[in-house]
Amino acid sequence: MTPPTQTPVASDATAPGPARLATPKPGASLGGDSNAPRSASVIDSIGRKEFVEPDIHDEMHAADAVLEIQDFCLHYGEAQALFNVSLTLPRHQVTALIGPSGCGKSTLLRSVNRLNDLIDSVTTSGDMRLEGDSIYGPAVDVIELRKRMGMVFQKPNPFPMSIFENVVYPLRIDGERNKAVLEEVCEQSLRAAALWNEAKDRLKDSALGLSGGQQQRLCIARAIAAEPEVLLMDEPCSALDPIATGRIEDLIDELRGSYSVLIVTHNMQQASRTSDFTAFLYRGYLIEAGPTQTIFTQPHRQETEDYITGRFG
């Protein structure tokens, strides 16, 4: 089940990642040359709003998918934000979603748990499947669906209640009242989110009194409290200092193997360090998706390379 690349990528990417990104690799120019005409046409076709076939690596196809996005389009009113996105999320792996600002990463992430339903102007087409169950089908119970996923937002959004109540919120709304169960879940989740030591003596205090980094870890604890099948993270570290970022990256590392994670990030190094797979989104189009190592060393498409090396975006 588990792809053999998993451990090498993770360990490989942590150490030499930054250095490798800074200097263009020797093979890139060669591959770039060969792909150049094709890449130019990709940008052109996007400009002409034509259909662009994403370059999905074979490893991605081979992986056991927990979530399948099938030909998904999304409009905000008249403006289209996602164009025929098709992507699979490998089970118990971390998949990073990268792309320039405004390319639709958050939109795609919020589409997975149908949070975009809250915006009146949104219309969609295509479908997604979670473990084979349709997400956008007509008879879907959205509330049940959302309970199968956890979400961490860009900005920490703790609820106006105690730390304890924050963590067990997903259980509370299911009507769980058994104190022993709640306490156990709270401790487990906080431990998993690396917040237990800091928070264990102040579980009854308001969560709004925590620092920004602690709040974000609290939100992660809340997201994993209900043991979701998929964990969605939208730039979870954008508001954090390097130390807190490091802790959350460690945490994501630990979640691998038990959770399927889809994480949006602007930080190439973070993507290369934490993820097993990477998908590159550009102006609402999925351009390329594959194992992180391949995407960062030998991307098939010129745009991907340009973006990763910081030449545009």
């Binding site: 009146d120 959302r146 996923m149 959004n157 709304i173 709004l208 209900a226 969605l232």
Partner: protein, 583 residues
Amino acid sequence: MVTPPPVTPRPVVPTRPASGGAAGGREGSTASITGTRRERRRTSLFAHGEPMVWVAGGSLCLALLMIAGLIVLVMSQGFASFWPGAITRAVLDDGTVVMGEITRVESVADAGAAEDPPQRRLLRTGNFEITQEHFRWVDDSEIASIETPEDAVLLERLAWGRFYGLPVAFEIDGGIVAEGPEAAWASFQQHHGEVRDRWDEARHLEHGEIGAVNAAIERRRLATRQVGLDSGFGSPEYAAAQGSFAKLDAEQQLIYDEIQGRVMALDAENDRYRLVLATATGHRTPIEVASVVRAVQPNALGTLGRAGVYVARWYEYLTGEPREANSEGGVFPAIFGTVLMTMIMTLFVVPFGVLAALYLREYAKQGVLVSAVRIAVNNLAGVPSIVFGVFGLGFFCSIIGASLDQVLFESSLPSPTFGTGGILWASLTLALLTLPVVIVATEEALAAVPNSMREGSYACGASKWQTIKRIVLPKAAPGIMTGVVLAIARGAGEVAPLMLVGAVKLAPELPFDTTAPFFHLERSFMHLGFHIYDLGFQSQNSEAAKPMVFTTTLLLIGIVVMLNIGAITIRTRLNKRFGNARI
């Protein structure tokens, strides 16, 4: 002209050292922008904001000054009204003698602006049944001699207002038992307490026990009538009911007679005691001791003694019933009515207002219609309150109340139960009046709840109602409480609509008593705001009522402040609980 600014432009330093390659081109363009930097103007006075600080601070000061002025006026007048003043006895040039408390001193407006403008004083002379006046102006120029007699007595009576005089004798059964000021005063002091106790007991019997008997008879009478209405007035059931009613009536009549006998015995005993006083003009007037609520010799009292009288008067004011067309006695029924009405109003307006705002902000699809509703609600706050009163009278009293009477209180028709003004209808009318305040405040509070919290809750799989109940409402609760505070302040001080829907000058009973069902929300009630209006503008003895107007205003402000402190305490608790720093 303008001297060149002392700060010479700094040398242009590129923000980042220029590097080669593609980035170099970008740096170059940046340098060309900074290279042609225009000369900077000096920061203007307005940019510094000094004048705005002064304007803003000045406005606040002006507002505070006006509010402080109002409060100081109300407090100084309100607190002073119960302080017992000295009794002055003045002999005028024409030989008339007047005696009373000086309540006001005025300069007589005179064309010749003299150094020392002549003054006149307003004397509260009392003794209305003899002189046919409560107050009298006395010019300083016409006073021959003036003194403050040590023995002078001020009586606060159940009827006829105050009496000023000098004690002469004390009579029991028409026979003089003490002669002379001191002896008479001593005997009076000795007997006054027990006489007043008997009087209290008699009134208690009248109100409590006879009241209960009457209530029982009335209930049976209505029940009998209901039997008649149900099965026809010629039916055997009605005849039977009438029979048992007559029997009960006879039984109750016996009890009634017995109690009445006790009351009469008490009153007869009280009637034996009289204090004889000499008025300013020397007129001997016997006064029934039972009718004296309080007797003071203010001239003989020190500061401590006067303070005692002051406290006693406040106590009577806060706990007693009004007498003398409300210008004397207490305002307890009005306090009770005000507080109860405000509470019932809050009970109605808060749930309705919050739910309405919830629908507007959380459920309704934001659009033209919702905006129109919102504007309409805001404008409702600008409708004159008397219009609400008219609506309350027409809708609550005449339509709903009358229908209720038809269904529930058929037997007591045509005299209305709910079909006329009462505390319930007044509360509902005011709830309607304050509804916009609560809706607007709640909407603001709901809008201030960050959307990210709602999304976080939805992402956890919460339903809309769970999100509202667990996240939105707790977070908005302090803001909602602010709306409640505003609504209480608005509702408790409102008078105009109440005059139409149930506030009365003098309510025979409180809307709450010890007979089931305890709360009688159909009853009319007294209200401090209406009391102020009544005292100030409807009183016969307006000069005596004036200080009471201020005292009552002070009390009303005090009650509103107290209710608000309650609400603010709740809000602070909520704030603490949810860790919001905002107070």
